[in-house]
């Protein structure tokens, strides 16, 4: 029944590329940190924390938005920026957990081996 919705992960590879690229820049990580401290900020608030032109900040926000790390919503006349942690969660689940599991099982094996020798 859910078999109809099986997809190859080709499409998501590009999603992940966007996220990794977006996170590779210190200014963009700083912008995410600002939103982590307090969410739902305007462009004006975000640019006041950076020694950068409005255009530069907008460019960085666009990269973050394309990667899904920032979601914007209109509230009256203002456009508010929200941090979206879901893409980071997805990368964590697909990549980090996988490798951590192996590391943990390697440590468990090592422990067993060492204890056997005692």
């Amino acid at each position: 029944m859910t078999g109809d919705y099986i997809v190859t992960y080709r499409a998501d590879v590009t999603d992940e590329d966007h996220v990794f690229k977006a996170l590779a820049d210190p200014t963009r990580r700083f912008l995410l940190d600002l939103l982590f401290q307090r969410d739902g900020r305007t462009l004006k608030e975000l640019e006041s924390g950076l020694a950068m032109t409005r255009f530069g900040v907008m460019k960085h926000l666009k990269v973050l938005e394309d990667a899904g790390l920032v979601v914007t919503r209109r509230s009256g006349r203002e456009k508010l920026h929200f941090l979206n942690p879901v893409p980071i969660r997805l990368i964590h689940d697909r990549w980090i957990d996988k490798y951590r599991e192996r590391e943990v099982s390697a440590l468990v094996a090592l422990k067993t081996k060492l204890e056997e020798r005692e």
Binding site: V86, R89, L90
Partner: protein
């Protein structure tokens, strides 16, 4: 202006792209046979009319840990299947969060080209700082701290692959 900014600061927004139809995603959110299959499990009950009752029932595992039968309660504010659901959301399993204000939860499902939907959760947690921390997903998912990021991540995995993600 100040009021708006305050409101923004108590609003959390989560978004994920899922390759599934809006109806399937809607069902996964509102039907008990689906809700039991991802994230923390447990069956939801929705009366999808304005003012209708919502509750999320504890799974067998949660009950064995001593949680009550109903762990989250709420009321449907707006239901526009399969695109928009607005409801109140009030976790009552823990006395601290139960004492806080009822929060407002919005699900938006938008269909894009190529059969991919944008699923957005907007959670207004004004007056509920404990709930805000609970749903933000900064804890360990295995200890119940996965929040919306983990719920959406697991929902995506289930709908796209038919399988569960490891907790």
């Amino acid at each position: 202006m100040t009021l708006m900014t305050d409101k923004a600061a108590t609003t959390q927004v989560y978004r994920v792209f899922i390759k599934a139809s809006p109806q399937v995603i809607w069902d996964a959110i509102t039907k008990p046979e689906w809700s039991d299959r991802y994230a923390y499990g447990g069956r939801v009950e929705y009366d999808l009319r304005t003012g209708g009752r919502y509750c999320h029932k504890a799974s067998a595992e949660m009950k064995s840990m001593g949680l009550p039968d109903e762990i989250i309660i709420g009321e449907v504010i707006e239901s526009d299947p399969p695109h928009k659901l607005v409801q109140t959301w009030h976790p009552v399993w823990d006395p601290d969060s139960a004492a806080e204000a009822h929060t407002r939860l919005t699900y938006e499902i938008k269909e894009n080209q190529g059969g991919i939907c944008t699923v957005t959760i907007i959670h207004d947690v004004a007056g509920a700082p404990i709930v805000a921390g609970m749903v933000s997903g900064q804890g360990d998912p295995a200890q119940g701290g996965g929040g919306w990021p983990w719920v959406l991540s697991d929902l995506k995995t289930l709908l796209e692959t038919g399988q569960r993600m490891a907790a």
